[in-house]
């Protein structure tokens, strides 16, 4: 068996809300799994199950309170994403791990084209080529030249989500963390995202994705984790896991 790309063991996350008299919530209560190179692992579960917390811990946007997440980097080193030095995380985020939040957090007053091209430029790519690839990726997602030269802050929610996806996939990383990247998209645009995600998959990108859309999940995921109340209740190939009913109900809200 091939070595996992990412080996997650017993991630725990507790949040203490000091401004609410020290109220505590525990979104993750011990989550473990392995992710193979190139694998697509879907994460499903009701809201509040800890899905986003898990992805954010892996990106170090959240600090985990326990556990390890050993990632095999491009250079072959094992890096614990939960504890590696901040500078290491900054480098990995720039070069091989990309997190797509549910909502675009693009810097203000920068045209969509440059928002996307900057991913390649920050990896040391040629700016002219970066812009050409950004234009191609945005067009493939239905963001035409007119919008490409506008600021994403002026876009609709669905357009912003596609800029977000373009940023993640203009130069597919080794590991992609997706937090409901299609929640605001209609069927036609979801199909475009599906197509471009598939291309990255074929390119070897491993992904961990939260989807409320059962169809997207069935078409993309190799394996699925069901997360409930901060714990993994099922984990296996997409065909063998019983997808709880709330997933489809959830998708209906957005369509």
């Amino acid at each position: 068996m091939t070595e996992p790309l990412l080996s997650v063991r017993d991630i725990r996350k507790q949040i203490t809300l000091h401004i609410l008299d020290g109220k505590q919530v525990s979104p993750l209560r011990g989550v473990s799994f392995d992710l193979a190179p190139g694998e697509f692992l879907g994460i499903v579960g009701p809201s509040g199950a800890g899905k986003s917390s898990l992805i954010k811990c892996l990106n170090r946007t959240y600090l985990a309170d326990g556990g390890t997440a050993n990632y095999r980097s491009a250079s072959g080193e094992i890096v614990d994403l939960l504890h590696a030095p901040e500078r290491t995380m900054i480098r990995l985020r720039r070069t091989e791990i990309h997190y797509v939040s549910q909502f675009l957090k693009a810097p203000p007053r920068i045209p969509a084209l440059d928002v996307v091209a900057s991913v390649i430029v920050n990896r040391g790519g040629d700016p002219t080529e970066a812009r050409a690839r950004a234009a191609e990726t945005l067009s493939a997602l239905g963001i035409g030249p007119e919008l490409q030269s506008s600021y994403p802050s002026l876009f609709s929610g669905g357009e912003q989500q596609r800029v977000n996806v373009a940023r993640a996939l203009v130069d597919p990383p080794r590991l992609l963390l997706l937090d409901e990247p299609t929640s605001a998209l209609d069927a036609e645009n979801r199909a475009k995202v599906l197509e471009i995600v598939r291309r990255a998959q074929a390119n070897g990108t491993a992904m961990i994705g939260i989807f409320h859309d059962i169809e997207m999940l069935q078409q993309l995921a190799d394996n699925v984790i069901v997360l409930e109340d901060g714990l993994v209740t099922q984990h296996g190939p997409i065909g063998s896991v019983q997808i709880p009913g709330y997933i489809e109900a959830g998708a209906a809200e957005f369509v």
């Binding site: 946007t61 480098r91 430029v121």
Partner: protein, 276 residues
């Protein structure tokens, strides 16, 4: 299977990366009129790496500006050490430097952009003259070179070149701030210190100044410490952030982590006070 699950921290090549600036135990006490001890900052320790922007956020009186003033030798600390790799090979504690070395630090190795342009500029010397002063201090000698550099940086910072020979005293606050930034960057210092650079400016002017700094950072890869009470400024510019309160660093981390998963009660309060 090999030891994939062990929790050892083995960073890859970042381990070999050397900080540009190392600050250890920086402490500054003042004496109050009644003889009591006032703690401006206490035991502040951090590193800054080449090409990164470090944010320091905190309310007024938190000691964040004192940190910059000590680094720039405007104020001498009570105790602490700081080493800048570009300065005497990183072997000399900045606060044990002699007069001549301290001058070199301020003219060659570091520059400061103050909240009040009055501190960073001579308002009765022309915009171009202000930049020339900085370049002369850094031992530039040829008038033509100085003039060319001044106009280069004024145009980079979007100061109209026909204002180059005017006095900044008659400029708007936003334009004064842009001249100050041009002056601070003109001789390409190793470290740029930015103290509340948008405070007091109109929101639209703030945006222009921030875009300018961000653009310069991307194009020139400058290393900087940005001090601000405004989390929006920190979010836009800083890779990593320190949170200061009452002279102490209460939290440090990746900027997005500080904003989304603040640990300290004060940081949680700060993040929840942001109106946008």
């Amino acid at each position: 299977m090999e030891a994939l699950t062990e929790s050892g921290i083995r960073p890859p090549d970042t381990a070999a990366e050397q900080p540009l600036l190392r600050v250890k135990g920086l402490t500054k006490h003042y004496q109050s009129a009644s003889g009591g001890r006032i703690v401006a900052c206490e035991d502040v320790t951090f590193d800054v790496y080449p090409g990164e922007v470090l944010g320091i956020v905190g309310e007024s009186g938190s000691g964040k500006s004192t940190v910059l003033q000590c680094l720039f030798q405007d104020v001498m600390p009570t105790s602490g050490e700081a080493y800048l790799s570009s300065f005497l090979g990183g072997t000399r504690n900045l606060w044990e430097a002699d007069r001549r070395e301290r001058r070199h630090l301020r003219t060659h190795d570091m520059s400061m952009v103050y909240q009040n342009p009055r501190q960073g500029l001579n308002l009765m010397v022309t915009a171009g003259g202000n930049i020339a002063e900085r370049l002369l201090a850094a031992e530039w000698r040829k008038v033509a070179d100085i003039r060319a550099k001044a106009s280069d940086y004024l145009s980079r910072t979007e100061v109209p070149l026909d204002r180059m020979d005017d006095f900044p005293a008659f400029f708007s606050g936003g334009m004064q701030q842009r001249v100050q930034i041009a002056k601070a960057l003109a001789n390409n210092p190793a470290l740029v210190l930015l103290d509340e650079l948008t405070t007091g400016l109109d929101v639209s002017v703030q945006a222009g100044v921030l875009d300018l700094v961000r653009d310069i950072q991307h194009r020139l890869g400058m290393t900087a410490i940005v001090v601000s009470h405004d989390l929006g400024v920190i979010r836009l510019l800083a890779d990593r952030t320190l949170v200061m309160k009452d002279g102490h660093v209460v939290e440090a981390g990746l900027t997005d982590q500080i904003l989304e998963d603040p640990q300290h009660p004060y940081t949680q309060l700060l993040v929840n006070c942001v109106t946008h």
